[in-house]
Symmetry: C2
């Protein structure tokens, strides 16, 4: 299935970097840990980092019912960006220095989820995106905890995906001049060894759903 | 020097996570590679990942003069978020699952830089933030390249810094119940080995400004 660009989600700059396969959007959203949510507060844009979860073509966001940003997002236009940096591109000219990355920008009106079953499904998706396996392993939310949480849903209808990879794209004259080094310094996100909570009994084994992520 | 919070930049949620030392803002901005810029386009917020540079209390952004997002940012209110994820916090309850992070959200009106000297200083800051040492090493921009670039400046006047670190903050009953593992899975961003451009002559040495970053 392909992404159907609207005027807003059409990649204009460096359009050769645009991707239109929905599978690439899913892969990016599933790999990244956080998104940046843009909302309008008092007429000005506000950008906030936050977690998310995905079920099929719906992105779930959540926050405290007391959070101004979540209130500002419900039923109003929002934008969500998800970005992975893969490398720094050292070019022969400053002008062509760049980054290798995969990014997606989503647009739409976020719907406040009120159906109790969907609230739970959304929270499960959020939890297991952040910490896979945790929804089944940890204590599920109480009624009070759920009441304190706003869950929003954003349809992945209007989305752009953009990627850059590979070596620098230098001007031919700069390649010929050969006065500067050029190449890519890869950037990778890696997991460290699990740090058990100090309140755990000694020798508590690290469960498979945590260990599997590190391996 | 401290950050002077305005109503907009006052951390409301989990305010114990707020930091008010300007040095922590600088450290975060200097360590992160990209920011997420929020602008208003046709009445809706749009969030875009982009590079930046910092000189003292000014953040510089740039883009093609043809970019809609940069045009939408000049002289208008914008928001910029810079976020580093340090770990995933596995709690004994889904409700307390969290992230360890350092983040800053900036607000203000971005000024279009027109003074030619400041344009160059801004571009140098942007280049050397992305790829330290490159402004001196690579070819500097031509007049044509500069004319094709919009440089924006955002004063770091209105900024919040928020951080979370350490183990999960579980409810006492969940700690006592002891039915779930809890701890932190650290997240680290690391550099890979330099990948020289295929167009470089064989055996071209990797220069110190690149090697120093990897070490």
């Amino acid at each position: 299935m392909t992404l159907s660009p609207t005027p807003r989600s059409t990649v204009r700059r460096n359009s050769r970097r645009a991707r239109t396969d929905r599978a690439e959007l899913y892969a990016l959203l599933d790999e990244a840990l956080i998104c940046h949510l843009g909302v309008l507060i008092d007429g000005a844009p506000v950008v906030l980092p936050t977690g998310y979860g995905r079920i099929d073509d719906v992105l779930y966001l959540h926050g405290s019912v007391a959070a101004r940003s979540l209130a500002a997002a419900a039923e109003l236009p929002v934008s969500v960006a998800v970005t992975l940096v893969d490398g720094v591109v050292y070019a022969r000219s400053s002008f062509h220095c760049s980054m290798n990355y995969r990014s997606s920008v989503l647009h739409g009106a976020a719907r406040r989820v009120t159906d109790p079953d969907e609230v739970l499904r959304g929270l499960a998706a959020l939890t297991d995106h952040l910490a896979p396996g945790t929804w089944a392993h940890a204590r599920t939310p109480t009624r009070k905890e759920i009441a304190a949480t706003t869950v929003l849903a954003l349809d992945l209808a209007e989305a752009s995906v953009k990627m850059r990879s590979g070596p620098p794209a230098d001007d031919a004259e700069d390649v010929e001049a050969g006065t500067a080094w050029a190449g890519v310094l890869p950037v990778r996100t890696v997991w460290g060894a699990p740090e058990p909570c100090p309140l755990l009994p000694d020798e508590t084994p690290v469960p498979p759903h945590v260990l599997d992520r590190v391996r």
